[in-house]
């Protein structure tokens, strides 16, 4: 008898992903799984989004971190409910962990759930959590070769947020060819939506909010 361990683990995760998908669908919640390297600005993007959409879209957050509740505290301080998951060393969130967290979120007061995955551009791309879409975040400080070097997450994401574009402003601060990133990302994923933003200054967020508002609207229609 041959036991394919890799496949079995993935299937168990997919089973919980399917449960999450059903739970979200029945309750008409939009769920977005944010994936990036550590320090690309996921939490800062969420804090600004929660502040700016306050009253228009009600947001809840599931925070995935290896250790600490630094990020959940930042979200809570911004006024949104946050459930912290500590993976205790694991490099990605599992659908089982997200299932437990979903049950703790106050669904009645929420339209949109962000899952902030563990900071890692590789592993989280292989684990479905039951989300409606993946959002990949790339900071300009990380360089413009990242879609070429880490293709999986760019191929699977519905949206690419190119963050920290304020660092491009001072000539020569950061070498980053935004057109190269767009071209490489679209080669992997022709329908990917790309929003260049600065979570520090707020530049570019209007387009991102339009996309979020439309996506929440479609789900409720």
């Amino acid at each position: 008898m041959k036991v394919n361990i890799g496949k079995k683990i993935l299937t168990a995760n997919e089973e919980y992903a399917a449960k999450n998908r059903l739970l979200l669908s029945e309750n008409k919640k939009l769920c977005l799984n944010m994936i990036s390297s550590p320090g690309s600005g996921k939490t800062t993007i969420l804090v600004r989004t929660i502040n700016d959409l306050n009253g228009k879209i009600k947001i809840g957050v599931i925070e995935g971190d290896i250790r600490t509740d630094i990020d959940a505290k930042r979200i809570t301080a911004a006024g949104a409910p946050a459930i912290q998951i500590n993976t205790d060393g694991a490099c990605h969130l599992s659908a089982l962990q997200v299932n437990a967290a979903l049950k703790k979120l106050p669904f009645d007061g929420i339209d949109l759930i962000f899952i902030e995955n563990v900071g890692n551009l590789v592993c989280p791309s292989a684990f479905e959590l039951g989300e409606n879409a993946k959002i990949v975040v790339l900071s300009v400080a990380e360089g413009d070769d990242k879609p070429a070097k880490y293709p999986a997450i760019f191929a699977k994401s519905k949206v690419l947020l190119i963050n920290k574009i304020d660092l491009l402003k001072t000539a020569g601060q950061v070498d980053f060819n935004i057109e190269r990133v767009k071209t490489d990302a679209r080669r992997l994923n022709k329908d990917i939506e790309i929003f260049p933003i600065s979570a520090r200054t707020g530049e570019g967020f209007a387009e991102w909010y339009r996309w979020l508002t439309e996506s929440v609207g479609k789900l409720k229609a």
Copy 2:
């Protein structure tokens, strides 16, 4: 019968790590395993180091990437031999892959071997490759909470390179409390050597070169 799969995989890796350690020791080569998030500047640090130490320390590089040979080409252009490993999706290098690459490197012309691991602050920390030491690289653009949030690699590394400090120079470009990083890293690892550098400008590299020169010297003594 209970089969502990996790343990078995690690042991197979450790076996190759031990082979690599022996091979390196017999040949008196210093081997440093560089680990960081994608885009922290590992390759740029290596390119500058190769250029500046040209003739003083002979360097070879093993390049780990999920896809592409972009990094190996940059190293070769700087004048050092480079062996590219493509992990084809895997999130870290294995000791087996490194063993094959070590055998391809021209050992006679080399004092120091850098392994540039796959860009990932999490998974590579769990896999010994037979290296003499791990070097963790953190870019100031990633934020000062990273040792707290990703403790494993900071606890295991001999050296922390804090890169892109040129981005701190223009007030307000990047929020990063370098003292917080030093304190948090030393709480995890009291003996860690910390060198703030800019691979763009060369600032701080003298200390890094002193450490490299001493480390290569000790091995040959």
